[in-house]
Every structure is written in structure tokens, then in C-alpha cells.
Amino acid sequence: MPDHTNVMVLDDEPIVGDRLRPALAKGGFDVEVFTDSAAAIERLKQKSFGVLVTDMKMRGPSGMDVLRFVREHAPNTQVIVITGYATIETSHEANALGAYQFVAKPFKMRELVKLVEKASKLTVS
């Protein structure tokens, strides 16, 4: 059973992790931040997370690759995909792969925290 308060934030923009970590921690989550998607996948193999917040375009495995990995290896983890440039195709693809939400940059942090809370509750039930 994944601990639903475990949240992973993956974005190759370091500022995103820096800002989200304290905001989510304040909401009572255990937050781990990654800027490298390959390292993040390694971590996902070891530990189960309730919610994964991931960027779409990254060097190395993309957000879509991480999403695919999670669907296969950690089906209970809810995935929120954020992206700098949303096209209809990518959002369709993310939805087809069972992403919980698709969020476009720039996002409001307060809204993202709310989304994470909702997603983590989904993990419990």
C-alpha cells in the first residue's frame, strides 16, 4: 500500500521543486524533489508514492515515459502532469494513460496543492 502522503515532484526546473516542497510540506505531505527523470524512475522502483507531480518535457525520459512507468509498476500512484506547452494530442495521450490531471504552466501553487490533496485522497479510498 503506498503511503498516500508521499509526494514526488519531478521537474527539470529546480525552482519548481524548491517552491513546491515547502508548500506541500505545509499541507502535511512528505515531499521528495527530483530534477532528473532517470533518477526519479529509480526512486519510484524503491518507494511507493501517493501522488507524482511531473513535468512533461525533460531531457532523458519524458513525463510521458515516467507516466507509462508508473502505470505499469505503481498503478495506485496518482499522476499530475504539468507542461509548458499543452497540445490537444499530449493531453489526450496523458488522459489515455490515466493521468489524474493535466496542468498547464504557469499554474497557481495554491491550486496545485489542492489538486495534490484531492489526488492523495483518491489513493486512500
Binding site: T83, G84, Y85, P106, F107
Partner: protein, 517 residues
């Protein structure tokens, strides 16, 4: 295997700009004015059309043949005249000889005398009748001959008269016989001489008739050779020249054709038409270049949006943190957050600036430029593509590189094309090498290397062709390199591609140095 290709072939030396005698010196940059001047230079020469020359040489040959025919007919007429004359003279001679045969019997019977007299009269008649012909042949001997014949006839008439008186027999006295014989001999001698002369002149005529055709054949041969040479020159040389024009047009050199000779002919009309076509092609090419720029911008839009949204997002969430946590943050934290906002704003404005640089309409000004700056700003534009494809940059451009003469936006477009090509050649990642330096000839050269699959030798010569692409439809327009090479050529530079299959591709771009004050 290592191969090299370059887009520009050598242009024929006489081709562009040969006509410098232009009526107006202003506005050479205007393509319509350039076209007008080129056409004027082509058309203002004296016209000497190939058709005219063809007709003239055929008329010359025809005239020569006619002259020969007339001469041959003339010669034939003369030969016929001589033959008739010869016949006449021989007949005369024959009569005289016949008369002499009678005389030799010594005593002439009445009827014999009649016959001789008749023969002599006959000869004289013939002689008078043919006077004109004989006169033409022999003016001096004629009166003498006529004198001899007259003497002869008178003698014979006298003898005949005596004979009749004596009852039928005419006997010549020895003096009469001697006189008669003398007249005969003289006439005979003259006639024989005439025959000899006529024979000689007749044989000369025949000789002329025999050699004349040979001479004609010789002259015609020479004439034909000369005509062939002239026409070969008038036809083959322009065709060669036009071959040169087409091959340079094929590689995108659209400079107009100028006059190469001092006169104009049908080929000049062709040159005028080709110039018209070149002007249209140039216009089309310019439109394409503009369109290709827009297309590149189009493919960049998603990347740009992504690039821009990242710093915007960073600014937005950092500002949000500042607002939400204003009471709990330490001064140090606050300082760090503000710094983040500051630098992310900077980052966003850089992106906007390079995008503006790229799309801004060209003033086409050639100014001294720092190549390094241009390369760096273009690399920034392709950063997103590189991230997606796991491409890293090995940047080796010395900061003290001499400045080059060029137009910044056009050069950015060239390097963007080259970087995108290199990145697209390495879909599973690799190193994009960018290095630069001064080369022997004094120009500044940039090398863009990739570790992609390389280009097969058979496609290498075609990569600069407009619309040549090996990429899927929708992915590549095939205009990147053709537009790039036309830009580099316009800036007076040179672009070459070397490639090794399986190892990678290197594009060399060389540009002239700026004149430093």
C-alpha cells in the same frame, strides 16, 4: 568514405555584369531596374541575326554556281564556234586541193575546167559567207587569202574563155600554170596555218572545260568550310555559354546574363527571355526564403512557448510563495526568492528578444558582427530541441574572434537551420560541436559537427537543392540548406558539407572578415 560538396559552381567569366554601359547609375539594388539594364545592354547591340547570315551564305554559294554555269555555257559556245570555223577552213582547203588535183593532169578538158571553176567559185562563196567567222579568227591573213582566191578565179576564167574559143579545150600556158600554182600554194599555206592555230585554241578551250569544274569544286569546298566554321562558332559557342548559365542557375546563382559579344542575334533574344525567367525565379526564391523563415518560426513556436512558460511559471510560483509566506520568511529567504524572480524575468526577456531578432524584417544591412554572439543566441533558441533529443553542446568559439561582415538575422537563420539539422540527425542524443577560427584565406569559419548517421555520398550533392529532404512529410520542408546557402553566398561567404556515414556530418561556414578601422 569522406566526401565534400559545395553549392556554388564557378560562373562563366563573361556572364554577369558584362554590360557596364548602363544609362542610369542609380538604384542598382532594385531588381526591376537591374533587369531593365541587363536587357538594355543585351538589346542595344547591332543585330546580325543567324538567319540573315544563313541566307547570305546560301546566296553566295548560289551566285558562285550561277557564275560557273554562265561561264561554262560561254565556253561551250566558243568551242562550237571554233569547231565550225575549223570545218569551214578544212572545206576551203579541200576545194583548193581538189582543184589542184585536176591541174596536176596538166591539160584540163572543158568539163574539167568547168568543175575546177565551180570548185573555186564554191570556195570563194563559202569564204564570203563565213567572212565574219573567219575574221574573228584571222584578221591579217584574210585579205591575202581573198587576193589569192581572186587571182586564181580570174586566171581560170580567162583560161576557160580561151578554151571555149579554141573549141572545147583549155590549155594552160606555163606562166599561167605557175601563177595558178603559186596562188594555190599560198592559199593552202595560209589555210594550213589557220587550221593549226584554231586547233591549238580549241584544245586550250577543252583544257579549260576540263579543269573548270575541279576549280569550282575546290572553291566550293573552301567556301563551305569557311561557312561551316563561322556557323559552328555562331551556334556552338552560345550553346556552350548557355550550358554554363543553366548549370549556375541550377545551383541557385540567379545573376542576370550580360552581353558576351559585340553584336546580337537569336541567342540574344534567348538571353533576354532567360533574364526574364531569372527575374521571376529570383522573386519566387525571395518569397520562398521569407516563407521558409516563417516555417522555421512555426516549428519553433511550440518550443518557444515551452521556453517562455517555464520562466513565467517560476516567476508566478515564486511570487505566490512571497505573498503567501510573507510573514514567515526570513530576510535571507526573501532575498533568494526575489533573486529568482529577477533572473527568471531576465531569462524570459532573453527568449523574447531572440525570437524578435529572428522574425524582425531585415534591413539587409551589412555590419561588422560578433559571430560568437550570434551563435550563442541561436543555440539558446534551439535549447529546447536539444533538451528533448538529449543533445549536449561542445562550444569552442574563441572570444577574440575577428568580426565578420554580415546581417545578424540572416546568420541566425542559417545557424538555426544547421543546428536543427544536426539535432534532428541525432534522435538518440549526442554532442553538437560548434567551433570557429580564422582560416588561411583570412575568412572566419564556423564548423557545426554532429554525431548523426551522416549523409550517403549519393545524396550529398543534392542536399542544397530546394525541397530536397529525407525527412517525413510535415517534418522537413527541405528548404533549410538551400536557403542557408543562398544567404551565405549573398554575404560573400561559402558553405560546404563533409560527411562520413555512421560517424557524423560537419558543415563549414566561412564568412569574410569585417574591415576593422
Amino acid at each position: 568514405m569522406d566526401a565534400t560538396t559545395q553549392p556554388a559552381a564557378g560562373r562563366p567569366p563573361d556572364a554577369p555584369g558584362a554590360g557596364t554601359a548602363a544609362p542610369h547609375e542609380h538604384d542598382v539594388s532594385n531588381p526591376a531596374e537591374r533587369l531593365r539594364r541587363a536587357q538594355h545592354a543585351l538589346l542595344s547591340r547591332r543585330r546580325l541575326s543567324i538567319r540573315l547570315r544563313l541566307v547570305a551564305s546560301l546566296l553566295l554559294c548560289f551566285g558562285l554556281c550561277c557564275a560557273f554555269a554562265v561561264a561554262a555555257k560561254n565556253l561551250l559556245g566558243r568551242a562550237r564556234g571554233k569547231l565550225n570555223l575549223l570545218q569551214t577552213i578544212e572545206r576551203l582547203d579541200d576545194r583548193i586541193l581538189r582543184v589542184r588535183a585536176f591541174e596536176d593532169e596538166g591539160i584540163l578538158s572543158g568539163s574539167d575546167i568547168e568543175k575546177v571553176l565551180e570548185g573555186s567559185r564554191d570556195a570563194e562563196d563559202l569564204f564570203r559567207k563565213e567572212t565574219s567567222a573567219l575574221q574573228a579568227a584571222d584578221r591579217e591573213d584574210l585579205p591575202a587569202l581573198l587576193g589569192h582566191l581572186g587571182t586564181y578565179r580570174r586566171l581560170l576564167t580567162a583560161v576557160t574563155a580561151q578554151g571555149r574559143e579554141r573549141g572545147g579545150f583549155a590549155v594552160l600556158t606555163p606562166t599561167q600554170a605557175a601563177k595558178l600554182r603559186h596562188a594555190e600554194t599560198e592559199a593552202n599555206k595560209l589555210l594550213e596555218a589557220m587550221i593549226r592555230r584554231e586547233r591549238v585554241s580549241l584544245s586550250a578551250i577543252f583544257q579549260l572545260a576540263g579543269t573548270g569544274p575541279l576549280v569550282l569544286v575546290g572553291v566550293l569546298l573552301l567556301l563551305f568550310a569557311a561557312i561551316t566554321y563561322c556557323f559552328a562558332k555562331a551556334l556552338v559557342n552560345p550553346i556552350r555559354r548557355f550550358e554554363g548559365y543553366t548549370s549556375r542557375i541550377a545551383v541557385g546563382d540567379f545573376s542576370l546574363i550580360g552581353p558576351a559579344r559585340t553584336y546580337r542575334d537569336e541567342f540574344s533574344d534567348l538571353a533576354v527571355a532567360v533574364n526574364q525567367m531569372l527575374a521571376a525565379l529570383q522573386e519566387q526564391q525571395n518569397r520562398l526564403v521569407k516563407g521558409a523563415r516563417l516555417a522555421v518560426v512555426g516549428t519553433m513556436t511550440s518550443g518557444i512557448a515551452h521556453e517562455l512558460n517555464n520562466p513565467l511559471n517560476n516567476i508566478s510560483i515564486t511570487a505566490e510563495t512571497l505573498m503567501e509566506e510573507s510573514t514567515t520568511l526570513t530576510d535571507e529567504d526573501r532575498w533568494r526568492l526575489l533573486q529568482d524572480i529577477y533572473f527568471e524575468t531576465e531569462r524570459a526577456s532573453e527568449i523574447v528578444k531572440s525570437l524578435l531578432d529572428f522574425t524582425r524584417q531585415e534591413k539587409r544591412e551589412m555590419v561588422p558582427l560578433e559571430l560568437g554572439e550570434i551563435i550563442l543566441s541561436t543555440l539558446r533558441l534551439s535549447q529546447n530541441e536539444m533538451n528533448i533529443n538529449n543533445v549536449t553542446v561542445a562550444y569552442d568559439v574563441p572570444p577574440d574572434l575577428p568580426r565578420i561582415q554580415g546581417a545578424a538575422n540572416q546568420l541566425r537563420q542559417v545557424f538555426l537551420n544547421l543546428f536543427l539539422n544536426a539535432i534532428q540527425a541525432m534522435p538518440s542524443g549526442g554532442v553538437l560541436g560548434v567551433s570557429a577560427g580564422v582560416r588561411d584565406h583570412g575568412g572566419v569559419c564556423v564548423e557545426v559537427r554532429d554525431e548523426g548517421a551522416g549523409i550517403p555520398a549519393e545524396t550529398l550533392p543534392r542536399i542544397f537543392d530546394p525541397f530536397f529532404t529525407t525527412k517525413e512529410p510535415g517534418k522537413g520542408t527541405g528548404l533549410g540548406l538551400s536557403v542557408s546557402s543562398s544567404i551565405i553566398k549573398k554575404l560573400g561567404g561559402d558553405i560546404q558539407v563533409t560527411s562520413e556515414l555512421g560517424k557524423g556530418t560537419t558543415v563549414h561556414v566561412c564568412l569574410p572578415r569585417a574591415e576593422e578601422q
